[in-house]
Amino acid sequence: MKVLRLFLSSPAAVIGFALFLVVVAMAASADLAYPGDPLDLAGRPLQWPFTNPRFPLGTDVQGRDIAAVIFHGARVTLAIGGAATAIAMTIGIAVGALAGYHGGLVDEILMRLTEAFQTLPNFLLLLVFIAVFGSDIATVILAIGVVSWPASARLTRAEFLTLRSREFVQAARVLGMRDLPIIFREILPNALPPVIVYASVVMAVAILLESALAFLNLSDPNVPSWGNLIGTGRAVLRTQWYVSAIPGVAILITVLAVSLVGQGLNDALNPRLKGRP
């Protein structure tokens, strides 16, 4: 509760959270506000915003209602960000926890693997995955998740390394608890806060990665993602700049919201900063 109070005392964090709620609300209300497939041809392509009351945000290169794509895209973006982050965090936490708790050979092997992933630029690896497995949205999410886990693995490992020698963990061992309950019930809940904060970074990066893929025309065209809208708007960047600017701003706001929430959480959870105004 103290964390919540600290979180709420930071205006930036509150603004971030509010922005995030807006995005969530858009995603939730997409079907009500814009029923039907947002990818359908809605009208003449490339109508400027505010020129046609039917399309407050105009239409894109493919004659889609940008407002509809933005609303439905919120859903896709949150799904991409959320699912990719969940995948990355699951792998990262599992690898980090095993390596950090067991140490020794397990640690050595897992960290080598992590190193291998970190040595390779993640965007490059993402391109390879997409080239190999295609750009179906599920593949994109999976690929983004798979390239994003190493940092969270390192973070989790570091937390585990300090926590595993803590006295409460020793107490659990002395009580005869098995390894898995110790990892999941004793250590993990205490290791999570910084990892959760880091999840906001992963989520932000996941959203940006998808938009970069779309920029290279390599994201799934069957879903109304903001990245795709930017990708298609790229061709008309100089004339109908709003086509890519509107989803660009949407991405910016979402990433900003996620980052602000993450930063707010970080400040609230970081005991070093507690008590500061």
């Binding site: 006295e167 107490a171 659990a172 009580l175 005869g176």
Partner: protein, 546 residues
């Protein structure tokens, strides 16, 4: 009486809104006279450190002195601006801190950091400073001062670091030295040396010392005058002898009463043939640090060929300074660490040889109480769950285990309603009781207590020790009690093993050990106990051995 050098009057310091109380200090008054060592003593939260920081003008942001004055050389330090205050700090008032490792910048050499005093406050040239620094270090009896000046903090021992800190604080020969718990983080022998050094320098230079401590032993060792503080207020003030031997205020009386005496109480001797609850047989443990490709391997012998036996129903003390291997030994006994060699027998079972699975079954017979009441309880679980945990692990249904936890709460003197609260809602002493309840829950025969009271304030420490002794008797436990504090050991142990560098140098019944220590190291330890000549003026002993 000489006029005071520093005079604190009616000092009130307000805490920021949202803190647990409105004021950190209330109407604190205190005079520091030239040539005296004035001890400010109190438990944590008493405001003793806050007083020192107020004098230095280094109160944390949001914490403010709202009333009062701090007169020094004719001006009120509270009224000085930052630039003027900077001239006072270091030059007029030097300060040393509790933890010399963290109080020194790890990235800069000792010489550089001492030299900074001159660079900040004088116009001395570089070569002159370079000459002064080794002289200062020699003054605090650091061997090879020139090398020490070139060294980084981590390259010196704890005692040497604190000497360097003192050299730095006294570099400009300030009128006042404020020492904030300067020996608390040090081993007892080092502590004795540092206390001697402070006294020596103080006598030689006539510096007035404001000495902040929680330890009445230290007070007895060093103080000329004493101020006792409680909850931000001064409760008693006077000459050291008066306060120590004839305390007036009930709080002072209680505090002094809680200080364990160095004299062991009379207790029945242990029969030689007494059955052993736990036998440690030639146990060794080394830590090898392996470099890349096994290149440079440094080996630390943490525990070297230790053999001990714990008679059933008795308390075996293991005493030593940091690095002596006493905590490693404790962890070896409960197999938190695997011994390299040797056997640890609990009855007929050799714990050291058990598989992980078999070991888990054995854990109900041997349990451990940890030192740090903050770190030893998982903050994410409710207190009741923590206590019930061991029972659940060993097969008791959750509901029954939780019910038992409530009983155990009562047993260790806690309100059974507290089972639903989280650890951070308890005080340090209460948490240590929870830790004890957790260990007792599974019904062990042997209890390993690793410095269970050293993180506690003295009054709380006494209560927890009382509880420990009472339960040990009631439940028929045998106990290994690990401590660095000879006073505590004297009161609670039947037999004491003294460890140094991983080896047991002497083992004897407590009474014999204190009466006639055989090993030179044991003698050195005993000689170093601060205030060893002071007998706390309390008629009845509150801690009774079994």
């Amino acid at each position: 009486m000489t006029p005071p050098l520093l005079s604190i009057g009616d000092l009130t310091v307000a805490l920021p809104r949202g803190a647990d109380r409105p004021f950190a200090l209330e109407r604190v008054a205190l005079d520091l006279v030239p040539g005296e060592i004035h001890c400010v003593v109190g438990e944590s939260g008493s405001g003793k450190s806050m007083t020192a920081m107020a004098v230095m003008g280094l109160l944390a942001e949001g914490v403010e002195a709202t009333e009062g004055r701090i007169d020094f050389r004719g001006c009120d330090l509270l009224r000085l601006d930052e630039a003027e205050m900077r001239k006072v700090r270091g030059r007029e008032i030097g300060m040393i801190f509790q933890e010399p490792m963290t109080a020194l910048n790890p990235l800069r050499t000792i010489g550089d950091q001492i030299g900074e005093m001159f660079r900040a406050h004088t116009d001395l040239s570089g070569p002159e400073i370079a000459k002064r620094v080794p002289a200062l270090l020699a003054d605090v009896h650091i061997p090879d001062p020139a090398a020490a000046a070139r060294a980084y903090p981590h390259e010196l021992s704890g005692g040497q670091r604190q000497r360097a800190m003192i050299a730095m604080a006294l570099a400009l020969e300030p009128a006042i030295l404020i020492a904030d718990e300067p020996t608390t983080a040090l081993d007892v022998t080092t502590q004795a040396q540092i206390l001697a050094l402070i006294r020596e320098l103080q006598e030689r230079r006539g510096t007035a010392v404001l000495f902040i401590t929680h330890d009445f032993g230290v007070v007895a060792e060093i103080a000329t005058r004493v101020t006792v503080m409680q909850n931000g207020r001064v409760v008693e003030q006077g000459a050291a002898d008066d306060v120590l031997d004839r305390p007036q205020h009930p709080y002072t009386k209680a505090l002094i009463a809680a200080v364990p005496s160095l004299e062991p109480p009379p207790r029945p001797r242990l029969a030689a043939s007494h059955e052993a609850a736990l036998t440690i047989d030639h146990v060794s443990k080394t830590y090898g640090r392996r470099g890349l490709f096994g290149a440079s391997k440094r080996v630390v012998h943490a525990v070297r060929d230790v053999s001990l036996s714990l008679p059933r129903g008795a308390t075996l003390g293991i005493v030593g300074e940091s690095g002596s291997g006493k905590s490693t030994l404790a962890r070896l006994i409960v197999r938190l660490l695997d011994p390299d060699r040797g056997a640890i027998r609990l009855g007929d079972v050799d714990i050291a040889a058990l598989s992980r699975r078999a070991l888990r079954a054995q854990t109900r017979h041997i349990q451990m109480v940890f030192q740090d009441p903050h770190a030893s309880l998982n903050p994410r679980h409710k207190a009741g769950e923590l206590v019930a945990q061991g029972l659940i692990v060993h097969g008791t249904p959750r509901k029954a285990a939780l019910a038992r936890a409530a009983e155990l709460f009562a047993l260790v003197g806690l309100d059974p309603a507290g089972v639903d609260r989280y650890p951070h809602e308890f005080s340090g002493g209460q948490r240590q009781r929870i830790g004890l309840a957790r260990a007792l829950a599974v019904g062990p025969e042997v209890l390993i207590a690793d410095e269970p009271v050293s993180a506690l304030d003295v009054s709380v420490q006494a209560q927890v020790l009382d509880l420990l002794v009472r339960l040990k008797t009631e439940l028929g436990l045998s106990m290994v009690f690990i401590t660095h504090d000879l006073r505590v050991a004297a009161q609670i142990c039947d037999r004491i093993a003294v460890m140094r560098n991983g080896e047991v140098v002497e083992i004897a019944d407590t009474v014999d050990l204190f009466a006639a220590p055989r090993h030179p190291y044991t003698r050195a330890l005993l000689a170093a106990v601060p205030g060893r000549h002071w007998i706390p003026p309390v008629p009845e002993r509150r801690i009774v051995g079994a």
